[in-house]
Every structure is written in structure tokens, then in C-alpha cells.
């Protein structure tokens, strides 16, 4: 007695899914940490150059009224290194250097990238919404947004490397 095409397809799909599930059990926390660190480094690198880490957003808009003595010239006594260019969201450096971080979960196979302390969450909101009359400069994708292609390319290569390691 023959087997129907649909049953065969379903069985093959299930077999492939089982293989994939089995392979994914080999993913280690350090693998996910590498992915998270790559995302954090990619965001930091673009922001440091005044480029948005959100796909299609281009360069961050200039600091509002910087040429009329507004921010960041208003803080130059406390932060003499802060200049109107590049627009790199860097004042003390804490927001990008320490605030931006990741959390990986090997059970769920997820990596969350973002800000996890109260102070940084508040700063992120300020940049995202454009506080104190500044332009909006989000650093974490929202809704239908995604990370810049440059970062995505690196993440895809890293995930592929993990998959290759699992196959070996």
C-alpha cells in the first residue's frame, strides 16, 4: 500500500524539525553571549560615528541649537570633551559603555539587547522620544523597526558559525 504525498511531506518536515530541535539543544550560553556582544558592539560602533543603529535611519540629526550656544556647549565646563560633532550620544560615556548590554537565555534561545538599569532606561527614553527639545535618536529598534543592515550581517554570520559548529 502506497503512502500519500501529503503524509510523506508532513513526516519529512517533522523529521527535519526533530533534527533541528536536537541540534539547537547543543547551543551553549557562550554562543548566545557572543551574539549579544556582537550586537552591542555593532550598536556602539555606529553610534560613536553619529550613525543610527536602526535600519534606514542614516545619521543622527544634529544637536538642536548647537550652533547658537545650546547643548552641548552648555555643558562644556563639566564635559570639556563633548562637542557638537559627531552626534554620538556620549557625555559621560556611561550610557553607551555601561548602560547598553545584553541578556541571553539558553533555555529560550533568546538574546535581549538593551538597557537594564533605571538610569539608562530613562536616558534611552529621552533619546528615543527627543527630550528637552532634541531630535528623536532611538538606539533600540521599536515595533516594525530592525537593526542596521551592517549589524544584521554580522549577527547572521555569527549565527551561521554557531550552526556550522553544531553540524560538525
Amino acid at each position: 500500500m502506497g503512502i500519500s504525498q501529503s503524509k510523506l511531506t508532513a513526516e519529512l518536515k517533522q523529521a527535519l524539525q526533530d533534527q533541528l530541535d536536537k541540534a539547537l539543544k547543543g547551543v551553549k550560553k557562550t554562543d548566545l553571549d557572543d551574539v549579544g556582544q556582537l550586537a552591542v558592539d555593532g550598536i556602539r560602533d555606529l553610534v560613536a560615528k553619529g550613525v543610527s543603529p536602526i535600519e534606514g535611519s542614516g545619521r543622527f540629526p544634529a544637536y538642536v541649537k548647537a550652533s547658537d550656544g545650546g547643548y552641548p556647549l552648555t555643558v562644556r565646563k563639566k564635559y570639556p570633551g563633548k562637542k557638537p560633532r559627531p552626534v554620538n550620544l556620549r557625555l559621560s560615556g556611561k550610557f553607551m559603555d555601561e548602560g547598553l548590554d545584553f541578556r541571553s537565555n539558553v533555555g529560550k534561545l533568546t538574546v535581549d539587547v538593551g538597557y537594564f538599569d533605571k538610569d539608562s532606561i530613562s536616558k534611552e527614553q529621552g533619546h528615543r522620544e527627543g527630550a528637552k527639545g532634541q531630535a528623536e535618536r532611538p538606539t533600540i529598534p521599536q515595533g516594525g523597526q530592525t537593526l542596521a543592515q551592517t549589524i544584521i550581517r554580522n549577527l547572521e554570520r555569527q549565527v551561521q558559525a554557531i550552526m556550522n559548529k553544531l553540524k560538525a
Binding site: D45, L46, A48, K49, G50, V51, E55, G56, G58, R59, A62, S67, G81, K82, K83, P84, R85, P86, V87, N88, A148, Q149, T150, R153, E156, R157
Partner: protein
């Protein structure tokens, strides 16, 4: 075929990303692929310039700036090397736009910004400033750095995988 050019209002490098990467366009999603590649190329070009390097294969880039210019730049910028950003207006005028068919154009537009861009790219042949190639010049046989082209290829191949072909 790629072509570069200079007009009063535009300095540009127009290219077919599929030919450049040596990959066939993905069926049914050429437009989406072009948009993703345009975003990627813009990020990459800005990223190279931002770290004081040319995005052009074999392109010139004198990273050091003169002491006189450094003194002036120090007032406005925390990057005291050649990153093409003093006021930021020239780089704000840089874009990668979708052209007809399969082509894209990396370009800087606006009379004042084009003059600044030509000062370093020297498409006109009249500039005496240190050459810093941010836009490939086809008259010199230039194109993007290999890793930018490799990234373009990855994006196109990703679309092929997505379409299930």
C-alpha cells in the same frame, strides 16, 4: 555598467549592485533587495568615513589633518582626524538612492556640499586638497572595498533563501 560623475548639484557613483556582487537579482523581490542594499551601503560608507578610512577599494585617505585645521576643528568636533565632518552638512547630504531598473546611486547633492565633496574626491581634477576618496570614481576604475561588496552579496543571497528558490 557603473558610472561616476560630477555636476554642479551632484557628485555620484551609480552602480548595479547585482552585477557588482556577481549574483542574480532575487525573483520577485528586487525592490526590497535594492532598499536593503541601499541602507547597507550608506551605513558602510558612513562607517568607513567615520573611522577615517576610505570605503573605496585602493582609495586614498590621509587620516591626519593639519595642525591649523585641527585647531579649528577642535571647537566643533571631538574627532581630531579626517572624518569629513566639521559642521556635518556634507555627510548629511550623502545618500544612496534607488534608481530605475536595478541601479543605485551613492551621491552627495546640493551645490555647497558637492563643492566640498569634490575638494577631497577631486572628480573635477582641480582640487589641491589631500585626496580622500569617499565616492568611487569609475574613471579611475574604482569600486567599493571587497568587504562591502561581500555584504551586498550576502543580502542578495538572503533574499534568494527567503523566497525559497
Amino acid at each position: 555598467m557603473a558610472k561616476s560623475g560630477l555636476t554642479k548639484d551632484k557628485i555620484y557613483y551609480e552602480f548595479d549592485p547585482f552585477k557588482l556582487a556577481g549574483v542574480k537579482p532575487p525573483k520577485g523581490s528586487i525592490q526590497e533587495a535594492k532598499e536593503a542594499i541601499a541602507n547597507y551601503v550608506k551605513e558602510q560608507v558612513l562607517s568607513y568615513i567615520g573611522q577615517g578610512e576610505s570605503p573605496v577599494e585602493g582609495g586614498d585617505w590621509k587620516k591626519k589633518i593639519s595642525p591649523e585645521y585641527a585647531k579649528r576643528k577642535k571647537e566643533l568636533s571631538s574627532s581630531l582626524f579626517a572624518n569629513m565632518e566639521l559642521t556635518g552638512e556634507m555627510l548629511d547630504a550623502l545618500d544612496v538612492v534607488l534608481k530605475q531598473g536595478k541601479k543605485l546611486s551613492l551621491q552627495i547633492t546640493g551645490k555647497d556640499q558637492v563643492a566640498k565633496a569634490d575638494g577631497h574626491n577631486n572628480f573635477s581634477g582641480k582640487s589641491e586638497l589631500p585626496e580622500r576618496d569617499s565616492i568611487p570614481n569609475t574613471k579611475k576604475g574604482q569600486t567599493f572595498k571587497d568587504d562591502i561588496i561581500a555584504g551586498i552579496r550576502d543580502i542578495i543571497e538572503g533574499f534568494e533563501e527567503d523566497s525559497g528558490d
